[in-house]
């Protein structure tokens, strides 16, 4: 049973209040009609299953009903951070200890929803 910090409610809440919605940062191709079948198939069906740091989309279903992302370690189950839609993770497979803060701040400003 996870204890999840909802970035919108600003506090930790019990896992029962949330629904997991799969891998985060899966953007719908902007122009589906011009995707190849392979590209569309990739978007629909293929997901990562890493050992270690993983970004997941969750929704605070019994709460504020907002979607947000979680960076979770799939071995220890530790949740390293939660962040709002449109923001970028600080902890990544490339930066397991966290990205330098300036870079992280810029990233969250620079990049858009689901980018």
């Amino acid at each position: 049973m996870f204890y999840i910090h909802c970035p919108y409610c600003g506090e930790h809440r019990e896992e029962e209040e949330f629904h997991p919605k799969g891998e985060a940062h899966i953007a719908r191709p902007a122009d589906p009609e011009n995707c190849s079948d392979d590209e569309w198939g990739d978007y629909l069906f293929f997901r990562d299953n890493p050992r270690g740091i993983h970004h997941e989309l969750w929704v605070h279903a019994v709460g504020c009903r907002k979607f947000f992302n979680i960076t979770r370690h799939t071995v220890t189950y530790e949740i390293l951070e939660t962040y709002k839609m449109g923001e970028q993770p600080t902890y990544t497979a490339e930066h397991p200890e966290g990205r330098p803060s300036a870079e992280a701040d810029q990233a969250s400003l620079r990049e858009g929803v689901r980018a």
Binding site: M1, A27, L44, F67, Y77, M85, V113
Partner: protein, 1013 residues
């Protein structure tokens, strides 16, 4: 006094309160403060059980949660039966009734003992499978008797009269265990201001201090316990939970605590102030920080016949003497590898009984306790150990020999000493079970000769749980852990003064697990490692020889550490034996993993109050009372209770479902029916981009739907598969009311939100659920308008001004209502939405006027028949996540030329979704009109084809239609749209083969004229 082993004084029992109890049908006396185990020992009961596999007599071995033998079936009544209770953890109460869990027909005279003997001196692991498997057909017969003989406790055959519940707890610091480390930690954390919960599994808090020989501030240790517990209980920020086991440690410091609230009082929970009490409670604790002060378990030595009653743990002897005033025998032999265990001999002697000898595996034992024993004239045989116990139903002697620990052999001759009790100690194992539940692996500490926990974030072990054993050090360790935990939780550390404890000089311990025997392990008398699962040293040797080298494999092959035991006494000894046989070190053999639950938790506690009528929420509509009064049969749709059909009494006989549904169907087709449709999901959609949004989530077009109009819509996932459908009404240019299927309400709302929040946040639109606000009733049938005209005001119901797929506002029965001309039956229909608080009044008013028109309430079954006659799908019944709108023949509902590539569109041109032989929806007309095809039945083209037949499709919906006077079905068939008129076959399990014709799925009024009248 018949309690022959009860001391005249001492112990923490209340001698003024005598309690009577029954064990295996015999009545005994004990005292308040006893456990069932201490009372049995006081009464000289040696055999308390038969062992699981060999059916050997077993006695009480330990004094706490680690007890492997004394598992009892508790309960005076059938309903009150509780299996697998450890007698060492069960407080005595007046009238307590218990039986041995194993032993058939009884523990004294056990038939299964024969099985053990027939199997020869040694039943290897896998014995039952190897011996009783052939012939295979006989296993069922064997098993019945083996099970009966082995006995695993039994569940009650009557329902439990008690109540149980759950409680959600939150704290800054959870302290597990209230021994010296736990109490010190709790005090430190609490004084720092943290919210603290202290859970301790025993009847009294205090742990080892309750039977300690040591003085704290020159006072008996239990006095410090009493003062500390009193101080803690006086603090607002502290919750003390005695009789509460932390049984599972889950992610992110979520710990389940099993509190036994009345189990020490009576068989079933007694009334308190005339009110029912909760028998046991599961606390679901979310803790900021956790301090594991779970102490250590003493390890027994593994020697021949170490399971005969009278063999015990050394520490258990001290506990029984000092805490319960019970000496469990007359003549003691002690076999030890360390100083601490000498307490048993001192306590025994001070109780006035004889210590025959202490066999100490060390060459030169010289610690302080050793000197005390010497001073009392106790014989100490250095460099030796008990190699074998003698006796059958009770120890009669101990055979002691000099042992060469390095060479693992007996040196020289042996000496047999008459005694009735053998206590052993091979050192101590920190109780790391809870730390293990988090997934962290412990580390072997060669100095401590035990595994110490590696804790994860937010958890710390203190005291014995991490191998700190000296009382003064334990207290200091506890304080430090408590202060750290509080500080990590954001509190500033308070100062806590510790009592002075005289430091004891202990000699070094040696590593001794299995005691060598003159004979090889396989031929020596059985040396038990896991008493509960009957795993012997020989069994582990065999397992390793048969190739099970990893300790995890050894465990599974031998069952060591299985079940309710969870390896409390045996695991380390077992690993040491495997390591010896394999010529490796203990850490090389592996680490040991423990799983929840630490000790068993009753089903009642796990279930809490989620049972009976509260097992699952039942959702009711505003008209539920009326349905109940009319005798409706109900159907579960999600959590909703929906009327299924309304059986009537005709000529004194209640209609069958078939009769009721036929009557209801005809009433709608010929007169007028009414359905409670309140359960449909309803989503209020507002915003300038609402229309654009609808165009993206529905397959069809929404750009031109005018206010006042309603449209049917189909929703797909992005893989092109239909997942819900419903009607959406345009209330205003920027305002829509969407309906969803009953089961899809929450899913669809979340679906809209995920697209809005994660893909199209730029669209200005809001979604709110208004499902419960509106009660919905469908009035449908040729007479619907006439009835509506009687009860409706402020609306023109004329067919030309209020057309099919229009909606209007008005009043029904004086109540503001929105009325929608939509039809799921194919008949003229009005769907009325009123605020739910007025709904019953509206419903009843309709009935007051409806009699003359034959107004008939109908349920979901009739609704299903009527819609299927029209070929209307039900998402989730006729679709299963693999059906596209094209498969359904709903090309008319697909807006291929909409500007935005709506959800599902792209996928419809993938090779798999556009191939011709996909399963497509068709109607099926059985050749025999009396036949109602089975839903789910497979469809084949050639019933004479060899098995396996190629399966061409299956039936999704099937009913009897009283209008068509025939069975009919909806089905999906490969390439079905081009197979109209063809014959298919449906072979059934009973050998019958039904024949059906593929037809259009619209069986009635194909032009849709009836709904337009």
């Amino acid at each position: 006094m018949s309690q022959l082993n009860r001391l005249a004084q001492g112990g923490r029992i209340d001698r003024s309160r005598q309690l009577s109890f029954t064990f295996n049908g015999k009545t005994y006396q004990g005292h308040a403060g006893d456990t069932l185990a201490s009372a049995l020992l006081a009464n000289g009961v040696d055999i308390v059980n038969r062992s699981f596999k060999y059916s050997r007599p077993r006695g009480i071995f330990a004094a706490g949660a680690e007890e492997p033998n004394a598992l009892v079936q508790l309960g005076a009544t059938e309903a009150g039966q509780v299996p697998n209770v450890r007698a060492t953890q069960q407080a005595l109460y007046d009238g307590l009734t218990a039986r041995s869990t194993n032993g058939w027909p009884n523990v004294q005279r056990d038939l299964m003992g024969l099985v053990g003997k027939l199997g020869g001196g040694f039943m290897p692991p896998g014995f039952y499978y190897k011996t009783f498997m052939a012939p295979a057909s006989m296993w069922m017969t064997y098993e019945k008797y083996i099970r009966k003989g082995a006995g695993l406790g039994r569940s009650p055959m009557e329902s439990d009269p008690d109540i149980y519940d759950h409680m959600h707890q939150h704290c800054d610091v959870l302290v597990v265990g209230a021994g010296p480390a736990g109490l010190a930690a709790a005090l430190a954390a609490a004084r720092s201001g943290a919210r603290v919960i202290v859970a301790d599994e025993q009847e009294e808090m205090g742990g080892t201090l309750l039977d300690s020989r040591e003085l704290l501030d020159d006072k008996p240790a239990d006095q410090w316990v009493a003062e500390t517990v009193e101080a803690l209980s006086g603090m607002d920020n502290v919750t003390l939970l005695p009789r509460t086991t932390a049984n599972g440690y889950h992610d992110h410091n979520f710990v389940t605590l099993h509190e036994r609230r009345t189990e020490h009082l009576a068989d079933t929970a007694p009334l308190k102030d005339g009110l029912r009490q909760v028998r046991s409670r599961l606390h679901r604790v979310r803790a900021g920080r956790v301090v594991l002060a779970t102490g250590a378990h003493e390890r027994p030595l593994v020697y021949g016949n170490n399971d005969v009653p009278g063999n015990m743990l050394a520490g258990a002897v001290s506990t029984y003497v000092r805490r319960y005033g019970v000496v469990p025998g007359n003549k003691l032999v002690l076999s030890v590898s360390n100083d601490h265990a000498y307490r048993a001999a001192l306590d025994w002697v001070e109780a006035g009984r004889e210590v025959v000898a202490i066999a100490d595996a060390r060459a030169n034992p010289d610690g302080e306790l050793v000197e005390q024993a010497r001073a009392k004239g106790i014989r100490i045989i250095a460099g030796s150990a008990v190699v074998e116990a003698k006796g059958d139903s009770r120890v009669s002697a101990a055979r002691i020999a000099k042992v060469d620990l390095q060479g693992f052999r007996v040196v020289g001759g042996s000496e047999t000493l008459s005694c009735d009790t053998i206590a052993s100690s091979g050192g101590y194992s920190p109780v790391i079970h809870l730390a293990s539940h988090t997934g962290s692996r412990p580390t072997w500490n060669e100095e401590l000769l035990g595994f110490v926990p590696n804790t994860v974030k937010g958890v710390a072990a203190a005291g014995g749980a991490r191998g700190v054993y000296a009382t003064g050090a334990v207290l200091a360790d506890g304080v430090e852990a408590g202060l750290d935990a509080a500080a990590e939780a954001g509190f500033s550390a308070a100062s806590v003064s510790l009592p002075q404890v005289a430091e004891r000089r202990d000699g070094a311990a040696v590593a001794l697990y299995q005691v060598p025997h003159e004979k090889a392990t396989l031929r020596a008398p059985k040396q038990f490692v896991d008493l509960q699962n009957d795993v012997t040293a020989a069994g582990i040797e065999v397992a390793t020889r048969e190739g099970f080298e990893s300790i995890e494999h050894v465990k599974r092959y031998t069952a060591m550490g299985f079940g309710t035991d969870q390896g409390k006494l045996g695991n380390i000894n077992g690993m040491a034996i495997a390591a010896r046989v394999l010529g490796r070190s203990i850490p090389e053999v592996g680490t040991t993993v423990f799983r929840p639950n630490y000790t068993p938790v009753t089903f009642g506690s796990i279930v809490g109050r989620h049972c009976g009528e509260l097992f699952e929420p039942e959702r009711y509509t505003a008209m539920h009372q009326w349905h109940v009064e009319q005798g409706a049969a109900f159907e579960d749709v999600g959590q909703w209770k929906r009327p299924w059909y309304f059986p009537r009494k005709v000529n004194g006989k209640v209609e069958t479902m078939h009769e009721a549904v036929a009557r209801e169907c005809l009433a709608v087709r010929e007169k007028v029916g009414i359905l409670d449709a309140s359960t449909l999901g309803k989503i209020d959609i507002q915003g300038p981009d609402a229309r654009e949004f609808l165009g993206r989530v529905y397959t069809n077009k929404w750009a031109k739907l005018a206010p006042g109009r309603v449209r049917y819509g189909l929703m797909c996932k992005d893989d092109g598969m239909v997942f819900d459908d419903g009607t959406t009404s345009c209330l205003g240019d920027n305002h829509f009311l969407m309906t969803t299927s009953t089961g899809g309400a929450a899913t669809v709302l979340e679906w809209l939100e995920i697209w809005h929040q994660t893909e199209w946040p730029e669209l200005d639109v809001y979604f709110n659920s208004v499902t419960d606000h509106w009660a919905t009733m469908t009035i449908t049938g040729p007479e619907a308008r006439k009835l509506m005209e009687e009860v409706t005001t402020e609306v023109d119901l004329d067919k030309d001004s209020f057309k099919f797929m229009d909606w209007k506002e008005g009043k029904v029965a004086g109540v503001p209502a929105r009325i929608f001309r939509i039809s799921f039956t194919g008949e003229l229909a009005y769907e009325i939405n009123v605020q739910a608080n007025y709904a019953l009044h509206v419903w009843e008013t309709l009935f007051a006027h409806g009699d003359k028109y034959g107004l008939t309430p109908y349920g979901t079954e009739t609704m299903h028949v009527l819609r299927a006659e029209k070929g209307f799908i039900i998402a989730g019944q006729d679709t299963d996540g693999s059906v596209t709108p094209e498969d359904l023949g709903m090309h008319w509902a697909i807006g291929y030329d909409k500007p935005f590539s709506w959800i599902g569109k792209r996928a419809l041109t993938r090779p798999d979704t556009s191939r011709e032989n996909r399963k497509q929806m068709v109607g099926l007309k059985p050749k025999d009109p009396k036949v109602v095809l089975e839903e789910g039945a497979q469809i084949v083209l050639d019933p004479n084809h060899a098995i396996p037949m190629p399966m061409e499709g299956h039936v999704t919906s099937s009913y009897y239609s009283p209008t068509l006077e025939s069975g009919f079905a909806l089905a999906v068939v490969k390439g079905g749209h081009k197979k109209m008129g063809e014959t298919v076959y449906l072979p059934m399990v009973d050998g019958q083969v039904h024949e059906a014709e593929i037809v259009s799925p619209i069986f009635l009024d194909p032009k849709g004229e009836r709904q337009n009248v």
